[in-house]
Amino acid sequence: MTTTEPQSAPAPDPRAAALRQTIQRWGDTVVGAALAAEDVTTDLIGGLSRRVTRQRLDRLTVRGAAERALWRRRAASTAEAALTTVATSPLIDRVVDHQVERILRPVVLAVLDDVLLLLEKEPDRIQALVRGQRDTMVDELVGRLRAGAEAGDTAVDRLTSRMFHRAPHPEPAPPLEQ
């Protein structure tokens, strides 16, 4: 009976291991660079595509707005022409005249009579109104006149102070009134 001696495992070569590790690292670097290049390319293409799409959308928006304005102008002119045609037609004139004669004129006459009667009975109301309006106008006019004259006084005072080399001094208090 023969016996076989167990084979002993060969010892790992440290140089080969270091070489394998270096190769693996370089492989990872290449894969990472490839992935980074893919990302950059994707971003570049996406941005370009978005820019082109935005420009196209802008052009479409401008065109749409111009068309909308054009159609609005056309619709307004058409409506105005139609209204003018209808309003100046003899038929509408006759209808309006008839309604005015039938409804509005009696109402206006009745209201006018009432107003005249009220004025005749109570003239103080209108007189007070007119008087108040007149006083307000006069006050405003006088205020403007006084403000303009005061501004002129200030300007002349400044000019004379400069001409006569007077130092700007505070004026003494005006005298007392009775």
Binding site: R146, A149, D153, V156, T160, Q178
Partner: protein
Amino acid sequence: MTATATREYAGPVSRTLAYLIDAFVVGVVFTAGAAIAAMITSVMGGRWHALAPATASARLVLLPALLAAYWWLFWTLAGRSPGMALFGLRVVATRARRLTWPAALLRALVLTAFPIGAIWALVDRRRQALHDKLARTTVVRMP
């Protein structure tokens, strides 16, 4: 009336405008009076052309006298003339409680006879013109 400390002196522009308005009013009144006198004269048969030199001479005397009387009357009664009232001005006495009629008369006469003395108000600290100095008055802004 009680004293108020916040009033200020009237400047030359306001006073000149008030003067011009008063002179315009007096001029209109005088012209209207002259026109009425001419009308009466013509109705009574007089010749206006013969009276023209006399009226021209009278105008040189009557118009300033009318202006002085106008100012004297209004300053004594109200302390302000219509032109001054329009611009919110008032004549006040500097050394008395109120403007007396002699002071108002003196002021009116000096202003009428020597209006160029008003220029002194441009350089005076209290804006007093010559007639103000003589009558011891000044003009304040008092609406």
